[in-house]
């Protein structure tokens, strides 16, 4: 991922707060104020930009004293100056200054090396009633990184304010998000030397993430401000007026890519595509080679966080981050005669469009777009298992910015991948041995169904045995289900379906009452736990990809028995999600046909009731058993 400037690390969506009364008396900790003043000056065509931050927070209880730990992040594009921090103790009529600030680094799982550092300190003597005060200045070294201001944060804020002061020859752009439900006031003022814009809002509730909800930026009220242009001596200079300006800047960065020793890359390309004739085959071979041979290791160091490393160096080192892999693919594909473009993109957790937000905030990822036989294909080699032809799931719906040449670009949307690309087909054969259900099952997984299974298996199985892993993830039958003869084929990034096979023994599964034996053929209860708790749910549900599961379950009626009851067909049909189940009897076999589908990437709040009806109906259908009785 390319560099993302995060000016204030203290914003953590995962931190707690509840109860949303206006006086916030039910809270443990609130912000009395969070104010930011951005001052932009222009001298000799050079910007001086400083963000002055001033915050005041109150400990309503002594429960969460850990909020006293403060961390201010910065990197090579910013510096932090004039930190003033102190605790006020109104009861004791006392203030105590922070007298120790430490500069620290952190190891991050996703980024191996980064120039991100932080200033860390702890407010002294916090307790119930304490008020902490913090102010500092963040100096920005690049006018493209004005960043964002959040009107709301993880705990309530009594007063949030953003002001921006800039000279008359500078033009500012701004756009706010998710502010419909807050009383945001905006005032423009003209001063002797320029303009002053002020946004204020009082009493903003706290925001915390919810299980399987859209990312924070989809509901957090915030504003993005940016410098569009400036004028000096009648001549206008563009900074980020529109997406064209953003692209021009990206083009200058790409221009700095090290193009040394590309012949090494070409040799590999020749080898990888040897004997292949069609562009599609070649493109696929190149993509798979990068997926298989380049490991994800990210370095974020100054502009190096934006400029891909040379393709030859990435080949030598066998590691790189998204932009390194994207650039390597670009070089290899173009060398093979397949038109390809370096592509900037924001992942699904960024809700922005290049047209609305022409700033580096809009994207956080890089891929390669290639045109093969008139098909536009998005290639993301950071996803080691995604098959050629499909974008990584987390880029669906997002705008891709393709660099065509130094001046020209194109913005296109990554399409949602059709449901028919991600299918799990489950063929199950069941027999009954007293009360034990004996099962042979084969699962064929395609598309994202396959990608997810393999990624989870590789990175989450840990030291669990295969049996334990499958029993806790597939959860077939009951918690005592025994797995035998587990095999996996096509456990790779190919388009062929992953084939997973195993035999199961499920003890005490069938129930016999008064000569009737009840057997429930729904050993797989996918989605049964997906009901949304609507009581205090606030944000929409996010779904990673569309998928369909198709089950065919064949139950052999034990000798000497006959079937006396078969459940009626049941279904829930909706364009976005649903299921169908029906049973047939063929000779001595009962066959259950079951299909489950999710054909959307999002369930909005006003659809929760419908979603819950779907789940309720499905759970009801899962409860139905067949009944067999001994022949008379």
């Amino acid at each position: 991922m390319p560099k993302i400037v995060k000016p204030i690390l203290t914003f953590l969506m995962c931190l707690p707060a509840f109860v949303f009364s206006q006086d916030f008396s039910g809270e443990d900790y609130i912000f009395l104020k969070r104010h930011e003043h951005i001052k932009i000056a222009l001298n000799n065509n050079k910007f001086d930009i400083a963000r002055n931050i001033s915050e005041q927070a109150k400990y309503i209880t002594a429960k969460k004293l850990y909020f006293a730990n403060e961390s201010i992040g910065y990197d090579s594009f910013t510096s932090i100056e004039n930190i003033k921090a102190f605790t006020e103790l109104p009861e004791a009529n006392k203030t105590i200054e922070v007298d120790y600030i430490e500069t620290k680094r952190e190891f991050d799982n996703g980024i191996f090396y980064s120039d991100q550092e932080s200033k860390n300190f702890t407010f002294p003597a916090v307790t119930k009633g304490a008020i902490t005060n913090l102010s500092y200045t963040e100096v920005l070294k690049d006018p493209r990184f004005l960043g964002m201001f959040r009107f709301g944060t993880f705990v309530p804020t009594k007063s949030a304010r953003l002001t921006i002061e800039f000279p008359k020859n500078v033009t500012i752009g701004y756009i706010d998000f998710n502010t419909e439900n807050i009383d945001l006031k905006f005032v423009k003022e003209e001063t002797s030397s320029g303009y002053l814009y002020t946004w204020t809002v009082e009493n903003v509730e706290g925001f915390q993430s919810e299980d399987r909800s859209e990312a924070a930026l989809y509901y957090l009220p915030h504003i993005i401000v940016y410098i569009k242009s400036y004028e000096v001596k009648g001549k206008s200079h563009n900074i980020l007026g529109d997406v064209k300006d953003l692209y021009s800047w990206y083009a200058t960065l790409v221009d700095q890519i090290d193009e040394k020793s590309l012949e090494k890359v070409y040799t590999i390309t020749d080898k990888v595509t040897e004997g292949l004739t069609s562009d599609r085959e070649k493109a696929k071979a190149i993509f798979n080679w990068v997926q298989d041979n380049i490991t994800y290791v990210a370095f974020e160091d100054g502009l190096g966080g934006f400029i891909p490393r040379g393709a030859a160096s990435v080949c030598d080192k066998r590691y790189g981050d998204c932009k390194d892999m994207a650039n390597l693919l670009y070089e290899m594909l173009n060398y093979a005669g397949i038109a390809s473009y370096r592509t900037w993109i924001g992942t699904r957790d960024r809700p922005y469009s290049y047209y609305e937000v022409p700033t580096p905030m809009v994207d956080n990822h890089m891929i390669t777009t290639t045109i093969v036989e008139n098909d536009t294909i998005f290639l993301d080699a950071t996803d080691s298992y995604v098959p050629f032809g499909m974008p990584s799931a987390f880029t669906q719906t997002k705008e891709a910015l393709l660099g065509l040449d130094k001046e020209n670009f194109k913005v296109i949307k990554v399409p949602i991948q059709d449901i028919n690309k991600s299918i799990t087909t489950i063929e199950t054969v069941m027999t009954l041995d007293n009360s034990t259900l004996k099962v042979q099952e084969q699962r064929a997984l395609t598309g994202y169904e396959k990608v997810d299974f393999i990624s989870d298996y590789v990175y989450k199985k840990d030291d669990k045995t295969e049996e334990e892993y499958l029993n806790t993830t597939l959860a077939l039958g009951n918690n005592k289900t025994q797995y035998r003869d587990i095999t996996k084929d096509n456990f790779d990034n190919s388009e062929s379906p992953l084939i997973l096979k195993y035999d199961l023994n499920i003890d005490n599964y069938a129930k016999t009452v008064a000569g009737k034996t009840f057997v429930n053929l729904n050993i797989d209860r996918t989605l049964a736990k997906s009901k949304i708790d609507t009581n205090d749910r606030k944000y929409s549900k996010k779904i990673d990809n569309k998928f369909r599961k198709v089950f065919t379950t064949t139950f052999t009626i034990p000798e000497g028995y006959e079937v006396t009851s078969i459940p009626k067909p049941l279904s829930f049909d909706n364009s976005d999600y649903g299921y169908q189940i029906h049973y047939t009897k063929e000779n001595n076999k009962i066959i259950q046909y079951k299909t489950l589908y999710i054909n959307t990437l999002k369930v909005n709040n006003n659809e929760f009731e419908t979603w819950n009806s779907f789940i309720k109906s499905l759970v009801k259908a899962y409860k139905k058993s067949i009944v067999i009785e001994k022949d008379l």
Binding site: D99, E102, T103, Y113, T122, A125, T472, N478, V513
Partner: protein, 642 residues
């Protein structure tokens, strides 16, 4: 002039004696032969060699200390590559890096050497200090990654090295060169012992271990603390320090700081605020008041600020290090005439505290013991109050010292063996159509359960609290609806001993009932919440260590609907237990029922009297643990009365 030449000669000849200078990797590396089993591992350590070399300094009485690590690892898949392609070398106590080199030997025999310009320096990382980091260049499936580095460290008499890892290692060597100085070395959790070998004419110690298995993350275990480890000491010339002398030194050094001298005025003033003149005050209550006061007014900080151990600073800023906060406790407790002992120990999941071999790295956790109450205070644990020790310390050894600087070692145990227990009463009714079951639940949690529950409820983010509510109300019922949920005794600052954390909830579910002709199958087993199965496909590696001894008592009453009778009750009778060689029944799962009119009353008792079990009793232990998951799948039938 002549003198200078002599001096240079001396330096170089002594220099030659340093073993690390002659140690190197092979000039023409080849891939190693591996068995098919080894090739099926994500990665396999082929060599892990550590050389710790102490050397008399040329000038003065100081000692030089060099550490060399040489590793070769085969990476067989993506996971293996990801595990080994980033290298972090800690710079803690490092005076200078002598050399760092790394290479990749490719399956085709080609070698990629690390470009040293790509080694990055990272300063002051979290609490770990500085690091040199680099990514391995050229690693692909089937490669071997070889890393060799030597650092010169500040002289420290003590050191440790963890030999075992999360992946198998074919050969590990630890070489301890001490230049004729007095030294001690001890290897933990291996039958192999150190042998004397000759290194450049000096007797040295070496241990060689072959085919070390990967340490598995087993459940009910402390795998990190159970790895094969080496601890060593090397003393300045002419000195020989016994372990006893070290312990005495710790006691006099630390003890003098932690047994309060003069009580500060600020402390006396504070006490006036939180201890009211009350004749009912017991030692326990007063100690609880001190604990509550400190935990709601002081904050513990982990950084390098030396003042956080200074008493005046601590009292003024209400901020302290983990070490410094003890001084605050000492002040308040002494001012209130409470007798206490000070205990140094370690997290048992990381280190097994060894009273017989002094290793400063193990002196990590500081707790306070109240001998008259047989209770502990855990100063750095925000969720604990006067009572038993936190579960991560329970069972480890500790160094106890009193105000007279007398000391002793003891295993840290619970004074109340029944500290942690859960009592659940559930009443189950069905709606008229027998489509839905209603579970009326009344749960009482004691001990560590209560402490953890309070902490989660008070300190966690909303999303976790949601999950927590699910956990407390029969987790695993797929369509469960929580109709009501109330908690009692949630305050984290109680002054009585072990008050129960109470949950009163009402939940409904349709999925617990399945139609079976005119009958209904009721999945009673799911009412006790998800119970996971304890698997064992390979031989158990770790002795059993549970978090803490605990007991569950459940009473589940099913109100049988009118016109129905219950059947299939045999599944409700389960009895599994393990009786230790001492004759004591140490763990048990027992479920039973009685049928009284229209009430089916199921009782379950499950207990684990101790948290430690020998590895040889693993199968018996597993049978008891899995009995709960046997019960989990129990179901009964509701049959119509003709």
């Amino acid at each position: 002039m002549k003198k200078l030449v002599y001096l240079i000669l001396l330096v170089s000849s002594t220099g030659f004696a340093q073993y690390y200078k002659t140690y190197d990797w092979k000039s023409n590396p080849k891939l190693h032969e591996l068995t098919s089993a080894e090739l099926s591992e994500a990665s396999v350590g082929i060599l892990k060699k550590n050389i710790v070399e102490y050397q008399k300094s040329l000038f003065g009485s100081g000692l030089n200390r060099f550490e060399t690590q040489h590793t070769i690892v085969r990476v067989n898949n993506d996971y293996g590559i990801n595990r080994h392609n980033t290298v972090y070398i800690p710079m803690y106590e490092v005076k200078q890096v002598v050399d760092i080199k790394a290479r990749t030997i490719h399956p085709d025999g080609k070698v990629t050497l690390l470009n040293k310009d790509n080694i990055k320096e990272v300063k002051n990382v979290e609490e770990y200090g500085d690091f040199k980091i680099f990514a391995i260049e050229g690693a692909e499936e089937g490669s071997e990654i070889e890393v060799l580095y030597t650092v010169e460290k500040q002289y420290d008499m003590h050191g440790t090295e963890t030999i075992q890892s999360d992946f198998p290692i074919k050969e590990a060597r630890f070489l301890f060169i001490t230049d004729g100085l007095n030294a001690n070395i001890k290897a933990y959790r291996t039958d192999k012992s150190f042998e004397t070998v000759d290194v450049n004419g000096k007797p040295s110690k070496q241990i060689v271990l072959k085919d070390i298995p990967a340490m598995l993350r087993e459940e009910y275990a402390t795998p990190d603390a159970n790895k094969i480890t080496v601890a060593y000491q090397c003393f300045p010339e002419g000195q020989n320090v016994t372990h006893e002398m070290f312990w005495e030194n710790v006691v006099s050094n630390i003890g003098s700081q932690f047994f309060a001298g003069e009580i500060k005025q600020k402390v006396i003033d504070d006490i006036k605020g939180f201890v009211k003149d009350d004749k009912e005050l017991t030692t326990f209550k007063v100690a609880s008041m001190v604990d509550n006061f400190i935990k709601t007014n002081f904050i513990i900080i982990k950084n390098n600020n030396a003042e956080l151990s200074d008493l005046d600073y601590i009292l003024e800023n209400r901020s302290a290090s983990e070490f410094g906060i003890i001084k605050a406790y000492a002040q308040y407790l002494s001012a209130l005439n409470i007798d206490y002992e000070f205990v140094i120990t370690a997290n048992r999941y990381e280190y097994k505290f060894d009273p017989e071999f002094f290793t400063p790295g193990m002196l990590r956790n500081f707790i306070i013991y109240l001998p008259s109450e047989e209770k502990y205070i855990s100063p750095s644990r925000i969720e604990y109050r006067v009572g038993e020790v936190p579960s991560n310390i329970l069972g480890n050894y500790g160094l106890y010292m009193n105000k007279n600087f007398e000391y002793y070692f003891s295993k840290i145990v619970q004074s109340d063996p029944n500290f942690s227990r859960t009592k659940r009463i559930t009443n189950i009714t069905f709606d008229e159509d027998i489509e839905s079951a209603t579970l009326d639940q009344n749960h009482e949690y004691y001990g560590h359960w209560a402490i953890t529950n309070r902490a989660i409820l008070n300190l966690s983010p909303k999303e976790s609290i949601k999950q927590f509510e699910d956990f407390l109300t029969s987790s695993g019922i797929e369509d469960k609806v929580i109709e009501s949920f109330e908690t009692e005794n949630t305050d984290m600052n109680p002054v009585e001993y072990n008050p129960p954390f109470v949950v009163k909830a009402k939940v409904t579910s349709e999925s617990l009932l399945e139609e079976a002709g005119d009958s209904y199958i009721f999945q009673i087993g799911k009412v006790i919440g998800t119970q996971s199965e304890l698997y064992q496909e390979h031989e158990r590696m770790n002795p059993i260590e549970m978090d803490f001894p605990n007991q569950y008592d459940y009473t589940i009453t099913i109100h049988i609907p009118e016109g129905y009778e219950v059947d299939g009750l045999d599944a409700l009778k389960i009895y599994k237990s393990y009786t230790a060689p001492s004759g004591e029944k140490v763990c048990k799962f027992e479920s039973d029922y009685t049928l009284e009119g229209d009430k089916l009353v199921i009782t379950i008792q499950e207990f684990y009297r101790t948290n430690e079990y020998d590895i040889s009793s693993y199968e018996q232990f597993r049978t008891v643990i899995n009995a709960a998951s046997d019960f989990n799948k129990a179901s009964i039938l509701l049959n119509p009365l003709d």
